[in-house]
């Protein structure tokens, strides 16, 4: 698990790098939740542009963070998911309920 984070203004941006599976998702979840609790951002942005692989464990991670963010009154944004990840989100029917952005660069 590799997550690099940058706190720009009111957004907590977490770059999710490498593979998100059952093995890596536990550490990733703890890391994101720790950052979320520490910074109380307006938006939690998961940058998935560097996520090379994700399966249903990643889906569970995203849905879990969606609930956590809602509880904290914060919006969850998925940034630049790959087509393979989009396919899984679509299959689960959650692509309509989550905010998904495809912009490049730092702007969200």
């Amino acid at each position: 698990m590799k997550a690099t984070t940058a706190n720009c203004g009111e957004d907590l941006v977490v770059r999710v790098l490498g593979d998100v599976d059952h093995h890596t998702s536990v550490g990733l979840r703890e890391e994101i939740d720790r950052q979320l609790a520490a910074s109380a951002p307006r938006r939690l942005v998961l940058d998935l542009s560097g996520t090379e692989f994700m399966d249903s464990s990643g889906l569970g991670l995203i849905l879990g963070r969606y609930r956590k963010a809602q509880e904290a009154g914060c919006e969850l944004v998925l940034l630049r998911p790959t087509s393979a990840i989009l396919r899984i989100l679509h299959l689960a029917g959650v692509d309509g309920m989550l905010t998904i952005r495809q912009e490049k660069g730092g702007q969200v």
């Binding site: 998702s25 569970g60 393979a84 299959l91």
Partner: protein, 144 residues
């Protein structure tokens, strides 16, 4: 489908780090089959799902280091790929129920209950046989 072009069989302990090992083996196997990136992504996903289910559910509460997971990949001359994943775990009580989207028996683990529906959607055919002595998933996909 009859004629086999290549086949690989591995057995590994039910440790979560072996989820990525299974995917790397799958990628290596398919690399020589001229597979498209989209098909490769699908197959890596279904292998990961099945292997994860064996580790998480099949051997729940047991020492994974002592529990075997079996992965078999077979490519046929007509470009049908057959993926078999087997465990000797507790088995699935109700397969029909398990197949339903968002059904999971593991709430604390933040599981989405989408593994089996994804495996079904990403392949042409999926068959599960299960008993209290273990589970076997066979998936077939015709590669472009």
């Amino acid at each position: 489908m009859k004629e086999i072009s290549n086949t690989v069989r591995v057995r590994f302990p039910a440790l979560s780090e072996n989820e990525s090992v299974a995917r790397v083996i799958t990628t290596g196997f398919l690399m020589h089959q001229g597979v498209t990136p989209a098909a490769l992504a699908d197959i890596k996903t279904v292998v990961s799902e099945a292997v994860t289910n064996a580790i998480v559910h099949g051997y729940r509460g047991r020492d994974g280091a002592r529990c075997p997971v079996f992965l078999e990949l077979t490519m046929y001359a007509d470009r049908t790929l057959v993926v078999k994943v087997r465990d000797k775990g507790r088995g699935i009580e109700d397969i029909e129920k398990a197949m339903q989207p968002f059904f999971t028996t593991d709430r604390e683990g933040e599981r989405s209950g989408m593994g089996l529906p994804i495996m079904d959607a990403f392949t042409d055919q999926m068959k599960i046989t299960s008993s209290p002595a273990g589970t076997r998933v066979v998936m077939k996909k015709r590669l472009p």
